[in-house]
Amino acid sequence: MKIRTALVASTAVFLAGAASAETMKIGITQNNVGVDSYQTTYEKAFIAAAEANADVEAVVLDAGGDVARQIAQMEDLIQQEVDAIIIWPTNGEAVIPAVRKAHQAGIPVIVTNSNIAEAGFDFVKSFSGPDNITQGARSAEIMCDKFKEMGIENEAQVVHITGQPGYTTAIERAKGFEDRLPEVCPNVTVVDTQPGDWNREKSQQVMEAFLVKYDDIDGVYAGDDNMGVGALNAAKAAGREGIIFVGATNFAVGYEAMGAGEYWGSIYQSPVDDAEAALKTAIDVLEGKDVPFLNYFDTPKITQDNMGDFTKPVF
């Protein structure tokens, strides 16, 4: 009885919304809120942005990292006849059937943060998120510029610590970095690449092995600041100085290490921007605006030189 009342009520809201073309009901199913600070902050920012907009009614769900639960949540949102669905995929392949179902029900789907596999692109209106290839390329530029400033752009040796093997973000950042570095600094060599699995402790161990193996390391590129700081800790413990550390996704620890002059630079990616961009993309789609399929939000370079322009990340 209660369920039916709720359904009737929500349908009523929906009809009212459609009639006045004012209220947009937007559902979101997130990947795994609470597993890291980025996702926790993202959810808060999304709810805040939705509440600030009187025309938006948001249904906020979280899959807890579970593909099956996310698919069930997609079906719930289709049943509730929301106007648009935003999905942060738990798995780029497995969610495609559910995304197709929403598409067939006439509900536009927006993918946020990490894209789904290409087989599902036909069923998606837009992808809103960071451009990880550009992020990797920008990290290469940050590192190369610093080497030029130091006058070692012709002999510098770099080691590369990647994210979790097989993870799209890790692959794209690594590709961006390794493609761009030889373009801007053709004489810099990447001597070794190993995964740090987005894990600070793992990255510290990898860096310890690198320090034993190579007597001369001038730069370290890590797929995110968490791993970058792990590598920095290893270098500090071994008393190796003068290494240029560049990361991505600026974390609070990375920002602090930059402030202390130990860590050179990173890429500033705000979960608040990420969440707001996803909501804005959904609203633009519903208002019939022309939205590019790959709708990236900007993730600028941050180094010791310009860090004053950015607030310290909350995660």
């Binding site: 597993v35 890291d36 070794d192 894990n199 600070r200 968490n226 609070a252």
Partner: protein
Amino acid sequence: MATLTKQKIGGILARQGILIAFAIFMIAFTLASAKFLSVDNVFSVVRSSAILGVMALGVTFVVISGNLDLSVGSMMSFSTIVVLDLHDKIGPALAIPAMFAMTLCLGAIIGFLVGYLRLNSLIVTLGMLSAIHGLTLTYSGGQNMDIADKEGTWFSVFGQGSALGIPVPILIFVGLAAFLGVVLARTPFGRKVYAVGGNGTAATFSGIRRARIVFQCYLISSACVATAGLIQASRSLGSQNTVGQGLELEVLAAVILGGASLLGGSGTIFKTVIGVLILGFIQNGLLLLGLQFYVQFVVTWVIIILAVWLDIAAKRGKLLSPIA
């Protein structure tokens, strides 16, 4: 005469199969990479193995008593997050005992469920793996934990300090291994642990309170986990919520690699230490060789299975021994 010598050699091989396997890998890696056996590298491997190693010491007790502990990975994340959080709130001197108390409570819950309610340890600790992960996330709100003043705290001594030129994590690992080794091999309690895992019914008839022994084994395991969490927290002075994720399997691999039987009743602390070192040196050796990391997963496990086989073959005195 000749047969006697053969028997003698056979006897030595049977007892030390895993040591021989260890020696073979060390020689192979040393030949392949000049830096493998350098003092710096050996210290760095043993130091990073210390966290896994300390956990493996406790799990050895649980496994010998005939049970499993799959919760140690997420329990270690819990200890790490708790001690880092409390460090800034109540100071390190209080944060450390508070964290130990909380972690021991988790161990007591598991020990109670397995020992006194006689629930299957696989199910209980698998359940606790998720439950403790959830507890950690609830506690931290999903945020990373970081100590605010990283330079000015003496808390870093457990993970980064050194005494007489030896890193403190190694000293803790070796000290704890020596202590628990004596407890297991030389005390009535240790003999009861073997008895409970080897033949529970016989143990009961000998007047051993099995539930109590099992309960105590889980307490030891959680105390080891808390120690590992302390080293981990002190080493990086900051942590994600998932820092121990997946470690339960590596810990179990090290214990089994050391020759403890999953059926209970056998295993020693010394061999667990060898198992831990084999795992640590394999991972480090493959990294120094510069093997592509996708290949490393495969090679690591091929080597582990090879080592287990060498150990078993030495015990049985033959290379092939088909089922029945």
